[in-house]
Amino acid sequence: MLEINDLHAGIGDREILRGISLRVNAGEVHAVMGPNGSGKSTLAQVLAGNPTYEVTGGSVTYNGQDLLEMDPEVRAQNGIFLAFQYPVEIPGVSNAYFLRSAYNEIRKAKGQEEVDPLEFLDLVEQKLKLVDMDESMLSRSVNQGFSGGEKKRNEIFQMAVLAPRLAILDETDSGLDIDALRIVAEGVNKLRSPENATIVVTHYQRLLNYIVPDFVHVLASGRIVKSGGKELALELEEKGYDWLQNTATAGSAGAVA
């Protein structure tokens, strides 16, 4: 589904990703871990097409297409979804209007008919339950006045409605209490399927107790320094990131799978 090859990217003259290679197949969940500043959020943003970052080398192929050539909205229309670390507040636009616009843009891109507000309401009702949110949130402005937990749940709610093929969760666990974490993780797990893939970007192992990954990759200084199975996350939790940074000879070793 996704093939990243020797990806280099940064902001201005500062290179943040320094040769990332990673392959993600349908049905898989990959965890990308690493200390602050290792480049894991940059990877998530670059995959979603954030124009702040400049890709300086390498390639990314998504379902056989050149992902880097696609505008961010085209990526979304082709099934890529980024759950933001810091979801954006948009005063004056209701969640319902925002999400229906997104939903319909994606449908239009697929040559499908747009849905009207009533049809849309039917569609989102059960998705709201998935993240334990009340219908009243639909009429509130996007993320405005939401608590940290509500914002993250709203990201997962959007993901549930937009039904992406490749979901990228950027530090979705940061700032969540244990209850919210469980709700968010359950939401993600219910959306797992053999056709979809998920990349979970996280600093802590905690989230991976709930969203169990098939593969774990550790980033340091813009490179993947170690890849392994879910037990790698536990090992990291025990030994800390220093353990790998000190033995970062793995260099730009590609991922398994």
């Binding site: 097409g49 954030n50 979804f81 954006v88 948009i90 925002f98 999400l99 843009e105 994606i106 891109a109």
Partner: protein, 473 residues
């Protein structure tokens, strides 16, 4: 009412000519044209004739404001002062009925036929609600044929009220809208003839809004003058809409005087949707008595050069006001919004939010004055002005102005100027919404925020639609 009477400038003769005040004297041409029309005006009752004369004398003394005048620093009115507008009521009447223009009712009937404004047009200027009290003015003259106001309210033509000798008219007209320093108000006062007169009786609650529709076209000038008197503990909503049927280079110079009696609650909306070639100066000036509430919303989108002044004086204990507004400019438009809140009495809260969205090579101006008198302790004033620039050539000059002479007050103000947020843009893009649509949504959101403060659902929804369609590429 002696306090009000004191504000009328009766020493007009004593005013020094402009040249002595060090202000450049402009070419006399345009003022001379106004003088000719002033002399041609039909006769009025003595008190009104005297008011008009004071108005004209003051206008002649002040002349058109220049950018050296602090209140006009960012707005040059040269396009207005250099154009020889003639008075609409004279030209319309001449064309329609020849020499019979003195006969007011006949002239108005003919104005309807001549300018071709139809009831269906007026309906289009409404807010999709039926049953509102609607008064329609064509180039400033009341049109009974197009209007519908039932007996629930005293709302009708000012010209009729003057003719009928309504005592409230003589009592208040020219007493609220001061013209000693305001040239356009002085000019309007010189030409007081018609407009709306609305009297809400004490304790009366007028459920349905009163809608004043000013339809203009051609290349003339009209000076609509409105007087709204809200009696003690009364409640009403007045909407003023300024529109045109066709592109015209006309000039509307409107003044609305508002008396908000003790404990009264008046909601006022000014919807400025003039022709994009037109000139508009509109002043709403209120005086609030104790415990009264005055809520104003000003929407400005039309005109090539447009200026709106919303002024209120909190002249009684615990009077409240909100002055909110939204201006949308594009092309080469120049839209200026000036507000003034004068805290005269103590314990008065005032709230103000103005937002602007500026595109093309347009120029917006906001000037918000809050003046707190020494007696006005416990004043609670909040003001903000936020602007969104959609193009690199668009320009905004914003100037919050606080003058505080009391020591126990809370006053805040702030102004922002920004462009569309890149992070929000990317957020929308990442959800599948392309740049054009995202720009529409974000711009709409910025503007809709202040529309949410509109109490009257029909107006709020209508403006939301107007804003959305304007920003839909």
């Amino acid at each position: 009412m002696s306090d009000i009477a004191a504000t009328i400038p009766l020493e007009v003769e004593a005013a020094r000519p402009r040249s002595e005040r060090g202000v450049a004297v402009r070419a006399p041409g345009a003022i001379e044209i106004y003088r000719q029309d002033f002399d041609r005006q039909p006769a009025a009752p003595r008190w009104l004739q005297s008011l008009r004369e004071h108005g004209f004398a003051r206008f002649e003394a002040l002349g058109f404001p220049t950018t050296k005048n602090e209140d006009w620093h960012f707005t040059s009115v040269a396009p207005i002062s250099e154009q020889p507008f003639t008075l609409a009521s004279l030209t319309d009447a001449t064309a329609a009925t020849g020499s019979e223009r003195r006969e007011a009712p006949r002239r108005k009937a003919d104005a309807f036929g001549q300018l071709g404004v139809r009831p269906a047009d007026v309906e289009g200027f409404g807010f999709g609600e039926s049953g509102w009290h609607t008064l329609v003015f064509v180039n400033g003259a009341y049109s009974p044929e197009l209007s519908s106001a039932d007996g629930e309210v005293v709302a009708g033509s000012l010209a009729h009220a003057i003719e009928a000798g309504n005592p409230a008219v003589e009592r208040y007209l020219g007493r609220i809208a001061t013209f000693d320093q305001h040239a356009f108000t002085a000019l309007n006062t010189a030409f007081v003839e018609d407009g709306a007169f609305i009297e809400i009786l004490p304790e009366a609650v007028v459920e349905l809004p009163i809608h004043l529709v000013f339809v203009s076209e051609g290349d003339t000038v009209s000076h609509p003058r409105n007087l709204i008197v809200a009696g003690r503990h009364s409640r009403a909503t007045v909407v003023e809409t300024y529109v045109s049927l066709r592109d015209g280079t006309y000039f509307t110079n409107a003044v609305t005087e508002v008396v908000v009696g003790e404990g009264a609650h008046l909601d006022h909306y000014k919807i400025q949707r003039e022709s994009e070639l037109a000139f508009h100066v509109g002043t709403v000036q209120a005086k609030q008595e104790a415990n009264s509430q005055f809520h104003s919303f000003s929407f400005a989108v039309g005109g090539s050069l447009a200026r709106t002044n919303i002024y209120t004086a909190l002249d009684g204990d615990a009077a409240t006001c909100t002055l909110n507004g939204l201006y949308l400019t594009d092309g080469s438009q120049h839209i200026d919004n000036q507000t003034s809140i004068e805290h005269i009495a103590p314990n008065c809260p005032s709230h103000e939010v103005y937002k602007g969205v500026l595109d093309g090579r347009s120029h917006g101006v906001f000037n918000g004055k809050v003046y707190v008198h020494p007696e006005a302790q416990k004043t609670d004033g909040k003001q903000s002005n936020n602007n969104l620039l959609l193009s690199p050539q668009a320009r905004i000059d914003t100037k919050p102005q606080l003058e505080i002479f009391a020591d126990d007050v809370k006053c805040t103000h702030g102004a922002t100027v920004g462009r569309l947020d890149d992070v929000a843009m990317f957020y929308l893009n990442s959800r599948g919404i392309g740049p054009e649509r995202a720009r529409t949504l974000l711009t709409y959101a910025f503007a809709a925020d202040v529309l949410e403060s509109i109490e009257l659902a029909a107006v709020r929804e209508s403006l939301e639609k107007a804003v959305l369609s304007r920003f839909s590429a």
